[in-house]
Amino acid sequence: MNRVVDVKNLWLRYGDGDWVLKNISFSVDTEKTVLIIGRSGCGKTSFARALTGVAQSIFGAEVKGEIWLCGKRLEEMGLREIQSCVQMVNQDPYTHFLEPIPIDDLVSYAETVYGESALEHVYRVAQAVGVKDLLERPITSLSGGQLKRLSIAKALITNPSVLILDEPLMWLDDVDGTEVVLNTIRAARSAGKTVIVFEHRFKHLLDLADEIYIMRRDSLEKLGKELFRDLNTDGSAQPTHSEYRYGGSSPASRCDVVLELRDVWHRYDDSKWVLRGVSMEICRGDTIVVYGANGSGKSTLLRILAGVVKPVKGVVKRYADVVYVPQIPHLFITEDSIAEEINSICRHKKIGGNCIEYGTNIVKSFGYADLGATPLNLSWGQVTRLSTVLAYIASKNGVILLDEPFTGSTYFEAHQIIEALQKLESSAKIVTLSSKDYIPLIRGGKIYKIEDGVLKPFSYSENGIQNLVDLAKRIYGYE
């Protein structure tokens, strides 16, 4: 077998900052599928960027060491050569598209490779990835998960030898989104391609990976597959027809209502209804989980609750302060450092007592030791977690709306967020999830599924998630 990716003594840093990667060596043979896991902020995305050359060319990173792709040294390869050897799908799918309609974008790109037969190639890839029905819809009307699928299709157009997927399951639903990625990887494997996947939700990828590595700043260590053998991850979904609660107050008991939706209907343009007659009564202390497929209307519901979107029909009433963390977590961060964020929240929200000390302790307990750090320099997962923790501090007896708060987090980090949220007994928490993975960790929550625009009670039981949390804690070395 040939080595298609060979990295020798790689060092990487941005500007004059600390080295993000220190002396990493790594190689992958052709036709292998490699899974790389690691804590958020350990340098996975930087490593992926370095492999495609964008860390050096676009992000201005200082890179030392050698990177060989498809038998050639990266510095000696032209852009077209890199594109035909390696393609990467990064975390944020919104920026993959340079034209507003996916079919135009994909055809425009395919024309550079295939000329007049571009359309034929685009349809072939779209068929394989299952995105044919999304091709003619404007990208602004697509959910993050749907865009993720399209970005995978775009990466496959040039038929590259190596496919790098940075958090491919982020925002993808487990109705069929996860399966699409897994099938894509299977198809790539059977076509003789090398696949490198960086992913936190590793349980879905264990069977596909030939090799598993754990990334730390100063090492990339190969893990034995036996470490994952005993994980019981079988889950079962059991929709119920009555309101389902894991504990908590009974529906009939009186509660302090903080948010109310009555017969809310919403749609964009002339398209079909995204929400149909949604009614909800949210009480102080409630933890609500809204689970659903990509494009099912979860984010729309949250935006309506937050006031970003006005429903076409129906009534929304808010009786308490609402804090909203969007799916893109950077939009929540307003200050230059973590410490200033805490100060600002305590000052402007007029949270008295020992708010700053309280906030500082919480943030530190989530692993943010350097409070002077600029959030801009944090990884996606770190910013998501930080935003959630800051919303927790700011909520103060109100309502916290979290759109996919576990993206970029390890199983253990997600568990930490859930534990923290559940301590907030005087606030209502509403969380959207496109994956069932974390539902069993949310004890005492009201679980809903959104399907065909209708919100229905939902229950899900699964035994393996706690094992994954424990394993993540052990292998990542959390204290």
Partner: protein, 249 residues
């Protein structure tokens, strides 16, 4: 608080709707690109002449233009979307109209109500032409036109910019709402920082996409020659416009 929230939600919906103006529809594709461009140019020239030279007249022409533009927008398929998108600019038009009416009521020198209504309607027609242009001519076609005019690199950059405008406007509304809810109305200005930070991250990611995929190329657009009926339609529309502009009140 509820009233302010409702108002805010409504304003954000307007911003989102406005962002949709820059996304073309696939309706009305049976017309040749030449016909579409010529028709839009004819309408644009006629409305501009009417605005500049016939400030206090051209009632029939204005009614004709607006009716024609609504019909075309409906035919293209983006009728509701265009109407939604126009709410935001029309608010400003109406504010201007209301201010002038207020001036008249207060006794200040101001145009007559007839002139006010006419100019508001003509500005609306102008917005409708621009909106129709974005709905009718796809970015691929626009890029092809610009490249044929020797503006290839501008064409590519225009495409990227127009693609990103809706996304940026969506992000703007998200950031503003997140900050407003985080700190309250007094500190909503703080939304500027996440916007700047996200713009930096966003532009780096876009640069990354350009690195991976290259700038949009000059597209292979199949341009049909206008059929005789299309030419007749353009001539008829133009002639009726000129007639109503010069001969009718």
């Amino acid at each position: 608080m509820l009233g302010a929230d409702m108002c805010w939600g409504w304003l954000m919906s307007l911003v989102r709707d406005f962002s949709n103006l820059f996304i073309s529809r696939r309706g009305g594709a049976s017309f040749s690109l030449y016909t579409k461009m010529l028709l839009l140019a004819v309408l644009l020239v006629e409305v501009t002449i009417s605005i500049t030279l016939f400030k206090e007249s051209n009632i029939i022409f204005t009614v004709y233009s607006i009716a024609l533009l609504f019909a075309l927008t409906f035919w293209v398929g983006g009728f509701k979307r265009v109407l939604n998108a126009l709410k935001l600019p029309l608010i400003f038009v109406l504010i201007g109209f209301a201010t002038m009416l207020f001036s008249v009521a207060m006794g200040y020198a101001a145009p007559s109500p007839k002139t006010l209504i006419l100019s508001t309607a003509k500005i609306t027609a102008l917005f409708l032409i621009i909106a129709l242009g974005f709905q009718w001519i796809s970015l691929r076609e626009l890029r092809w036109v610009l490249s044929k005019a020797g503006l290839g690199s501008i064409a590519s950059l225009t495409t990227v910019v127009l693609t990103l405008i809706p996304a940026v406007l969506n992000l703007y509304s998200e950031a503003y709402t997140a900050t407003l809810l985080k700190y309250g109305k007094r500190y909503a200005y703080k939304a500027l920082k996440p916007l700047i930070i996200h713009s930096i991250l966003f532009s780096r990611d876009v640069a990354q996409a350009v690195y991976w995929y290259g700038l949009p190329q000059i597209p292979r657009v199949k341009i049909n020659r206008p059929r005789r009926t299309e030419v007749l339609v353009v001539l008829a529309i133009g002639a009726i416009g000129i007639y109503t502009m010069f001969a009718a009140p």
